[in-house]
C-alpha cells in the first residue's frame, strides 16, 4: 500500500507535469501558427520555442512515467521517498535552468542540440550554452539516481535473471515475475544506459567548452552519443507507461491480473537488447558510418518494437475481445493510447526502413510519427494513470457524459493535428522550418489546419488538467 508521503509527492509530480504540458502545448500551437504565417515570430523566437517545447515534453513525460512506476512499484518492493523528492527538486531546478537558457538566453539548437550547434551563438546569449549544458547535467543526475535507486529496490527482491523473467523462458517456472516488474526492470536498464550516454556526451561538451580550442570533438561521435541518449530516452519513456498498463489495465477492467508468459518475457528481453542499437537509424545519412551499423539500425528498430508491440496488443485484444469489461476513463485512455502507440510505431518503422528513409528523412513525417505515439500514446498512458490515481480516494468510477465529450475533443483534435503532419511528410515538407518557402506553400496551409486541431486537443487537456489537479490538490492537502 502506498504511504501518505508517496501519495503526496505523486500528486506534486502530476500537477507539475500537467502545468508544464499546458505551457508546452501553447508553444507548439504558436509554432504551427508561425509556420502557417498566421503570426510572425523571429526565427530565434521560433527555434527557442521549439527547443523549449521539445525538451520539456520529453522531460515531463519521462518523469510522469517514472513517477507512475515508482508509485506502483511500492506494491512489490519498498522504494526510497528521499530519492523521489531529490528527483523532483533536481527536475524543477533543471527545468528552470533550461527555460532560463531558452527564454532569456535564447538558446535554440533544438532538443537534440547536435554538436557543434550549441557552440554557435547565432543570436543567443554567451552564457546560454553553459546554462543549457548545466540544466541537462542537473536533470541527468536526478534521473540517474532515481533510476538506479528503483533498479536497486527491484534487485533486493529479485535476482537479475528473475527480474528479467528468464525463468519464464523455461517450462514451469518456480518464481513468478510480475509483468510490471519485468517491464520496469527492462526499461530502467535502458534508461540508465541512455543517461550514461548523456553523461559521456556532456563530459565531451564541457571538455571542448573549457579547453580553449585545445580539444575538439568528433562530430560523428557526438551525433552517435546524442541519439543514443535522445532516441533511447524517448522510447524508454513509452515503456514506463506500458509497465503501468500491464499492471492496471486488467485491474480497472475487473479482469484477472496479467501474467508473464514465455512470449512476454522473450519479447521484452528483445526490447532490452535491441533498443540500445536502434538509434543507428538516425545516422543513415552519415555515410562514414559503415554499412553494417546502418543495417543493425534497421534490424534493431524492428526487433526492439515489433515483439513488444505484438504481445501488448495481443494481451489487450484478449482482454477486451468478446468480454464484458468495466470501461472507465482509465482503461479507455489506456486502450486509445495503445492504438496511438501502435500507429505511431508503425509509422516509425516505415521511416526507419532504409529505402523509405531516403524519401522521408527530416520531413514532417518524423514529427508526425513521434507525435502520434507521444501525444496520442504515451500522454494517454500517463493521463490514464493520473486519472486512476486521482480518483482512487473517491468512489466515482463511471464514465460521465462530459468525460465522453472530453475524450471526443482529444481524439478529434489529436487526429487532425497529426494528419496535418503526416500529409506534410508525404508531401516532402521539411521539418523544423520556421516558415516555408513559396515552393512549399502547402506546408503553411497544413500548419494552420494543424494549429486549429491542436487547439481542440488543448481544450481537452485543459479539462483533464482542472479535474485531475483539483483532486490531486485535495490529496496533497489532506491529512490522511
Amino acid at each position: 500500500m502506498a504511504s501518505i508521503k508517496l501519495n503526496k509527492i505523486t500528486s506534486v509530480w502530476i500537477i507539475s507535469v500537467l502545468l508544464l504540458f499546458i505551457v508546452s502545448i501553447v508553444l507548439g500551437i504558436l509554432m504551427r501558427l508561425n509556420q502557417g504565417e498566421v503570426i510572425s515570430q523571429s526565427p530565434i523566437t521560433f527555434y527557442s520555442n521549439m527547443t523549449t517545447h521539445g525538451l520539456t515534453m520529453i522531460g515531463i513525460w519521462f518523469v510522469a512515467g517514472m513517477a507512475a512506476v515508482n508509485y506502483i512499484m511500492e506494491r512489490y518492493v519498498k522504494t526510497s521517498y528521499t530519492v523521489n523528492v531529490l528527483a523532483l527538486v533536481l527536475t524543477v531546478i533543471g527545468i528552470l535552468m533550461f527555460w532560463a537558457s531558452t527564454f532569456i538566453g535564447h538558446f535554440h539548437s533544438a532538443w537534440t542540440f547536435l554538436y557543434p550547434l550549441p557552440f554557435k551563438e547565432m543570436g543567443s546569449e554567451t552564457w546560454a550554452t553553459l546554462m543549457f549544458l548545466g540544466s541537462l547535467t542537473v536533470l541527468g543526475i536526478g534521473w540517474l539516481i532515481w533510476s538506479i535507486s528503483l533498479m536497486t529496490q527491484i534487485l533486493k527482491k529479485y535476482s537479475i535473471p528473475q527480474a528479467l523473467a528468464w525463468q519464464h523462458l523455461r517450462k514451469n517456472p518456480t518464481v513468478e515475475t510480475p509483468p510490471f516488474i519485468l517491464i520496469s526492470m527492462i526499461t530502467l536498464i535502458g534508461v540508465i544506459a541512455c543517461l550514461l550516454a548523456a553523461v559521456v556526451l556532456l563530459v565531451l561538451f564541457y571538455a571542448e567548452y573549457f579547453s580553449n580550442g585545445n580539444f575538439v570533438n568528433d562530430a560523428l561521435l557526438m551525433k552517435n552519443l546524442t541519439y543514443f541518449f535522445g532516441h533511447t530516452i524517448a522510447n524508454e519513456m513509452l515503456y514506463l507507461g506500458l509497465a503501468v498498463i500491464y499492471e492496471l489495465f486488467s485491474e480497472v477492467s475487473g479482469r484477472p491480473k496479467w501474467k508473464t508468459t514465455w512470449y512476454v518475457a522473450l519479447a521484452w528481453n528483445c526490447t532490452l537488447v535491441f533498443i540500445l542499437t536502434a538509434f543507428f537509424h538516425h545516422l543513415y545519412m552519415d555515410f562514414v558510418q559503415p554499412q553494417g551499423f546502418q543495417i543493425i539500425g534497421q534490424l534493431a528498430s524492428y526487433f526492439a518494437s515489433l515483439p513488444a508491440a505484438g504481445v501488448t496488443v495481443f494481451s489487450i485484444f484478449i482482454a477486451v475481445y468478446r468480454t464484458r469489461i468495466k470501461w472507465s476513463l482509465t482503461n479507455l485512455l489506456f486502450f486509445i493510447g495503445v492504438i496511438g502507440w501502435v500507429i505511431g510505431g508503425l509509422a516509425a518503422v516505415i521511416d526507419s526502413t532504409i529505402s523509405n528513409n531516403i524519401v522521408l528523412h527530416n520531413t514532417l513525417w518524423v514529427p508526425a510519427h513521434f507525435h502520434t505515439y507521444n501525444a496520442m500514446g504515451n500522454v494517454l498512458f500517463s493521463l490514464g494513470f493520473f486519472y486512476w490515481f486521482s480518483i482512487q480516494f473517491s468512489d466515482k468510477t463511471k464514465v460521465k457524459k462530459s468525460t465522453t465529450l472530453t475524450l471526443a475533443l482529444l481524439l478529434i483534435g489529436g487526429i487532425g493535428f497529426l494528419l496535418a503532419f503526416y500529409i506534410g511528410g508525404a508531401e516532402s515538407i521539411p521539418r523544423r522550418y520556421s516558415i516555408y518557402p513559396s515552393e512549399l506553400s502547402i506546408g503553411a496551409s497544413l500548419a494552420t489546419i494543424g494549429a486549429a486541431f491542436a487547439s481542440i486537443y488543448f481544450i481537452a487537456i485543459l479539462i483533464f488538467f482542472f479535474n485531475i489537479s483539483k483532486r490531486c490538490l485535495k490529496i496533497l492537502f489532506s491529512s490522511s
Binding site: 535476482s159 585545445n214 552517435n224 552519443l225 562514414v288
Partner: protein, 255 residues
Amino acid sequence: MFKNIVFIILTISFLKTTSAQTVSPSLKEESDIYEKIYDAPLILDETQPTPLHELYNTKPLLVVLIFTRCTGVCNPFLLRLKESLQFKAKKDSFNVLVMSFDPRDSIKDMNLLARRFALEDNNQWIFAVTDSIPKLNQSISFYPVWDSIRNQYDHDALLVGVNNEGYITKKLIGMRGGHDLDLLIASVNNVFSPTYRLPNKNVLFSCFNYDPKTGKNKLGLGLLFIALPAILTVLILIVIGFSVRSKASELEESS
C-alpha cells in the same frame, strides 16, 4: 597548332600570376549555394533571346564567366577547362555555357572566341551574351571591378554549377584540377559526393580515421565511447545485483 602553342605559353605564364587563385577553395565558393541563378534572357545567335531556364532544363550547366577582350585569366581558364573536360567520363551529362559579363561583347565576338578555341561546332559548348549582366552577376555573387588604367576587368575565374532546376549546386573559383571538376559535375547532376574532414591533432576521439591514401576508414577510439554507456550499465547492474543479494543473504543467515 601555332594557336595551341601560344595558348599553352599563355597558360603557363598565367598560372604563375594567378597562383593565389588556383590554390585552395575560397569561402566565396560557399555563397548562393542552393539559390536559383537569375533566369537571364540569353543571346545565342541572331534570333530571339532564349531564357536561361531553357538551357538548364535541357541539361545541367557549367557556367563560365569571361570577356573576349580579356588579356588575363579568361583564355587560359577556358583552355584548361576545355582540356580537362575532354577526358571526363560523364561528358554528356551537362553543357558548358560560356557567358560574357562585358556589355561591350556581342554574340559575334563570342562566336569568334568559340572559333578560336575550336568549339564552334561542339554542341556541348554554348557561347552567349545577355543584356541582364548585373542581375545575373548578382545572383551568383560575381563582382568584376573595372580597372581603367589597364582597361581590363579585375575578376575571379569563376565556374558555376547549375542543376536542371536552376539551382546553383557548387562554385569553383580559380583554375582547378580534375577532381574538383568531378565534384562539380556530380553536384549539377544531383549526385552525392562524400567529403571528409581534414585531420586535426586536437580531435582525440574520432569514430573513424579516414586515410586519404587508401580511401579507407579505420576504426577509431571514439567507437569505444559509444559502447561505454552499455558496458557501464551492465557493470552497474551486476555490481548492484550481487551486492544487494549478498547483503540479503547475510541478513537471512544472521536472523
